[in-house]
Amino acid sequence: MNSPSNTATQVLIIGGGATGTALARDLALRGVDCILVEQDDINAGASGRNHGLLHSGARYVAGDRQVAMECRAEGAILKRVAAQTIQDTGGYFVAVQGDDERYIADFPALCARAGIAARAVDVAAARALEPALSERTIAVFEVPDASIDPFRFSLETMAHARSLGARLMRRTRVVGFELEGRRIRAVRLQSLSGGEDLRIEAAQIVNAAGAWARELALLAGAPIEMTYSKGTLLVTHTRLAERALTRLRLPADADILMPGGTVSIVGTTSTPVDALDDVQPTTAEADLIVAEAARMLPALATMRYIRAFAGVRPLVGAAGVADGRAISRGYALLDHEDQGLDNFATITGGKLTTCRLMAERAADLVCRRLGVTRPCLTATTPLPVAAECAWTEPGRSPRVWMRSHARDDTLLCECELVPGRAVDAIYDALRAAGDTPTLTEIGLRSRIGKGACQGAFCAPRTVAHLYQRGDFHAGRGLAEILDFFGERWRGQRAVLWGEQLAQAELMEALHCGLFGEELRGDDLRAQASRDAGTPGAPDDAPTNEVSS
């Protein structure tokens, strides 16, 4: 392999999830130079595949008071310093007929012991405020749960870190570690976007790769004990509730419904998995979620679902435990010194709610090793708003667009009313950071493709818009559309019945029936990974055409 270009930094962070980005910001705030490498994109893993629930901790009062109290404290901090990413919906814990009476009875005391404010709410009053609640509801408690936008949170965290000098390398995968005694001298990386390979020398390396932490540690020769638990969630077509609704029982399947701005997210499941590649929601999981969650919210049985997604929870230190939920949701910080590595650490597990704390602890370790004495500032420093990151917020773009729009600022997405200017802002920001933005990346940073049509109409419009701007050339647009659909589809097939199936049929009628994309799929994808500059795409006389 050709000799890669060298770079050096104080700390190399591996993994661009909530923890990794939080760590980058923490270190940057302490004045430590760092690079964050991510094989895919920000929050591509579990950080972007969850309810977006900012836990009050009440969910864990019985199982793990430690975690419950961490959640309580961290939730309060994030509401303070990252308010723009949080909607303080409040939450209800709801028991229905048949739920464990003893648990219901103990719940207030358990919350009190964890210092979590839980107030009993009259069932009728609760149903008046949340009409979707089952008439078989028997008990309701109000807790300070809230809704957080994980994408905006991590994007703005990373944006802040970069403004402080931290570097981000997306679509860059770690392929090897160069060991030297008890130290890792350098890390070898491979660019997945056609860029050149890299070699980074870092004083400290932090493994924040979430579920991928195990492979990575193994690669570094410091195996860790970790199991994977797959969690699937469904996205409803319309928003069903105003508050975070959690089933009042020991954590089990499908007992949280989260109002995610304009939609609701319901889940999750918990099934052990061994492999990380191609983790997709299954129809069985979707069925299980609908059936179970409908006991708390009957409307879910007839609701139209537009999407399903699955994430993998890394569970540290409990190989062979059957039920993922039995394992602590606490995080793990491993210094690997007993495995003979002095400048390598792994931070994994935990929750979105506690990611700041995890980053703080990891940063403390790294700084101690570096001899940096500056204290952690993330608990007090407000997270600056980054304009180009705000487009992930559901229901925001309609307002922005209705407030004012230039004649040329048309809506590219009708379902969620996303204007062209959103795409422009995101594209230009990524461009400025030296990236070649893809449609999928734009989707991750906006509501494009997140609505009812799941991209069938907005993807072609967005691509047309980018051609018009002169950003796309040759056959790139088509390739981007196909990649985008590939990504969207993974989230769709599990919920395709009823109205959403009709929607999907229309999508296929358009993109296969009329555009014939399936006939050109392969060579386009091949070409997409080639330089986007060369012309390609459909030819007029396909080699496989039969002519008489």
């Binding site: 077509h237 319309t238 009708e414 109205e499």
Partner: protein, 576 residues
Amino acid sequence: MSSTIFFSTLYASLVLCALGLVWRVSAWFRLRIGPDARDVASSQRVAAVFRGAASALFGSRALRLLGALFLDVLLLRKLFASEKLRWFGHLLVMVGFTLLLLMHALAPLVSAKLFPGYQPTLDPYLFLRDLSGAMVLVGVALLLFRRRADFPQPRRLIDWAFVTLLLIVVATGFVFEAYKIASPRAFYRMTEQFIGSTDRKELEPLRAVWASEFGVAFDDLKQPVDPALLQQGRKLQQDSCASCHSKPTSAFVSYPVARALAPVERMLDAGRANEWLLYLHVFACFLGLASLPFTRFFHVVAAPVSLLVNAAAQNRAFSTAGRASQRALALDACVRCGICDARCSVAPVARYLENAYLLPSHKLVATGALAGGRLLRPGRENDASPDDTHRDEARRVAEGAYLCTDCGRCTSRCPVGLDLADLWRAGRDDLAAVGLPPPEQWVQARSALAWAESLEAGSGQHPLADADAAFAPLSADRRSFSRCVQCQACTNVCPVVAHSIDAEHGIDLTPQKVMNLLRLGLRDLTLGSRMVWDCASCYQCQENCPEGVRVADIMLELRALSVHRLGALRGRREPA
């Protein structure tokens, strides 16, 4: 009674009456209803009337004027057409009152001159006076009796007072007459004057006759009366009384009253009833005279004028100045008969919305109040806050004004021929001028976003309340739009979107965007939108929707919802 008191009070009340008339009539030239009226000065309006009157009186239309005077004013033709009973009552009062005024009140000037040997105590005058009085009483009774109305006519205390006064006048008239019939004191005053004697023995025969046949209530008459004495008495009566006195029985009201008074007659005599009864009667008349212009009964002046003006004007072709005066005149000419209300096209709606201001007679009063600055003072124009309670009354008026369908029934039915249709148009313009324009303009004065934000500021996020669901059921039910597949058929067939080609009048949302905002739970963003308010309700979207979404029905629902939520009109009673 002393003539100084009599005449001083008479002249006082005449002066008051005159002043009142001047004040009321001047209002016809002062009050400005409708924007066009604001452009013409009072002087122009006066001039216009004189020109009009002149051309009418001395022009070709004089005859028509005469006809109107006779048919419309005197015979109340229009009223006869629509309500016979009321017409009869009204006629009785008019005739009875006029007779009393001329024959009785102004007897020295009229009766005495016209009929030589006129004596109020002689028939037929005796009978006619009672008849006239009776006519007035019956007439008033008929007019007071009216069919049950959903909303009582607006009336002021002074109006009731005036009616009472009228009754007092008639009643005291009868009682006074009755008293005089039965009064011994009056009898002796007469004998003293015409026979020169008050000696009981000497007058015994005459007393017997007057007691038995003229109803004088002597309490010292020997009973039974000796027939011979009666014979003698009759002769005396023929010689000295008959020239002035018919038998009082023809006073078919007063005579029975007199009989009834007999037991207390001595007491009345002792109490000088002759004096105070007269004062009561006369002063009641003067008081009535003085207060007439300040009451609703000023219509005895205004209504005829209005009728004549209409007759004079060539099929209602008025100059702006003339129209301005005519509107003001209409306020006074309305007799509150309520005939318009009964035939109003939106009367059922008025009942349901419990808003009387939909009905003409109430709307007329409100229109006057608005023009007179009593409803809403100008200067509060830009106060557009939806839940501003002190404007509630004004909003009710606005609701009444804007729900009018201009069907013209009130105008065609009005017994005094008021051009109400014109008055309503003017009133609506006045409402708009004080910041209560029609709903569509009220809503579109702000952007959809501004409305949404003020709603959220007002009451936070709105989950779909049951109240909303009751009158916007489709937009409250996710199933009604969850079928949407984003195909944009609705927008493509929408003529409003198609023709909104200039930025100024361009629409903000498309039908599909409205549906999507509903799906996103952002309904408040749609309420004030141009799309919802410019919707032509042509139903192309709904007819063409491949998924059967009732797009237009939802739009119209949203409109009703926004009228309610954005306070375009009074926040109205809604189903519980």
